[in-house]
Amino acid sequence: MKADYIRKLKDQLEEFEASRADIDDIINDYEQLYDDALSTGKTDDEVYTFLGDPNGVAYDLIDTLKIKHHKDIRNKVIALTPFISLIIFMILGFAYDLWHPGWLVFLLIPVSAIIMSTDRKSGIIGLTPFISVLVFLFLGFQYNLWNPTWLIFLLIPITAIILNTSFKDMFVSLSPFVALITFIILGTYFDLWNPGWLVFLIIPMLGILQKRNKIQMLILELTFIIAIAFYLYMGYVQNNWAIGGLGFILPVATAILFGDVTFTWNMPKGAERKKVIILLLTILLSIIVFLVLGIVLNGWVYAWQIFLLIPVVSIIAFDKFRFTSISPFVAIILFFSIGYFFDSFYISWLAFLIIPMAGILENA
């Protein structure tokens, strides 16, 4: 408990980029206070209340901290990037007549803001939208591969999961994305929409591997394999996919029997409930709009943008609202929509400037 308390306090102070001397001093003091409080017979919970929540303590101490110097250097780099970009752009334009694609150097502005104003992990996650957009545009314009290249946008949640999830949970968390990518590739290139959808079964099958009761785990996995084999047999040999689908009653019934599938609705109450409903509706709406735009209007090229609504709504509903957090998504939508619909990519890159602008305005 003491180690946990001290670690939380240290993490928060490091996040404030306090100087090493300040962090060491405060941590030493709190270790001492914790030991002194324990020696009076207080329990760990009582000591926690006595000393206060470590995050709150760090906030109370913020005016006594000396902030590391490199933060100033970072801010200087961010502030200088627009001028450096402009100089490079002018040189490329006037000296080599490379106005296009020389404008790409302006992407250095949001990229430097993301790299410099966040830690390494957040920086990598923050860069994935740019990498995705560039790959998407390149493959789209060069090879007209808008579909299935839009799948590259899954890089954003995949990177976030890899960097934020423990190794043990990573496979289960990544399985929906792996399944979706496999499904789209099987469908697009091999016209195997059916039975390609079976790949989605890796999601429950991987989840089942984490069951503590190993016998139940094996039985459940077996029922899935039997159901899949039955489905494929009925479809390919008997040409009756519908009857084959009935085979999936077996794993579902087994899961109900083992108590893995229950029909209770553990919806949070009050404000949380409202937020969850809004998010679920957003996901549902995004999928419907994406499919309608794609199938009815053949708008696969731009329909993917609707999925950016999900992280935006999630940030607004569950986090403290900061425009800085949603600005990368808004910038991508503006960049792509202005560029694609008005054939103005040479100017739409300006949308990315809202990212550093939002950062500067909100952090000022």
Partner: protein, 96 residues
């Protein structure tokens, strides 16, 4: 002012200050350390480490000359304020 007054009487370590203060007045214990640190930063206290028989060495807070001057100033302001309050309430005080 209360913290200054406590440490003016004798040098104290952090936990001691918090306990003493919390036993005499209704104060949230976890607000005391930030104040101690702030006052030390302002030069009202200085600190030194002293070895103990049990556990790690302790950091003690000692009032500085500047701290003593500030304490006198605060006490004088506080007494003036209290005199005014007593006068308003119509009660007795030492000066009436």
């Amino acid at each position: 002012m209360c913290i200054l007054s406590l440490i003016d009487k004798r040098d104290m370590y952090g936990f001691e200050v918090i306990e003493k203060l919390a036993s005499d007045i209704d104060v949230n214990e976890n607000t005391v350390y930030p104040i101690l640190r702030r006052l030390t930063g302002q030069g009202l206290f200085e600190t030194y480490i002293e070895q103990t028989n049990i556990g790690a060495p302790r950091k003690y807070y000692q009032i500085t000359k500047f701290g003593k001057e500030k304490l006198e100033e605060y006490e004088s302001e506080w007494k003036t304020f209290l005199t005014g309050v007593f006068r308003l309430l119509g009660g007795n005080n030492n000066e009436s």
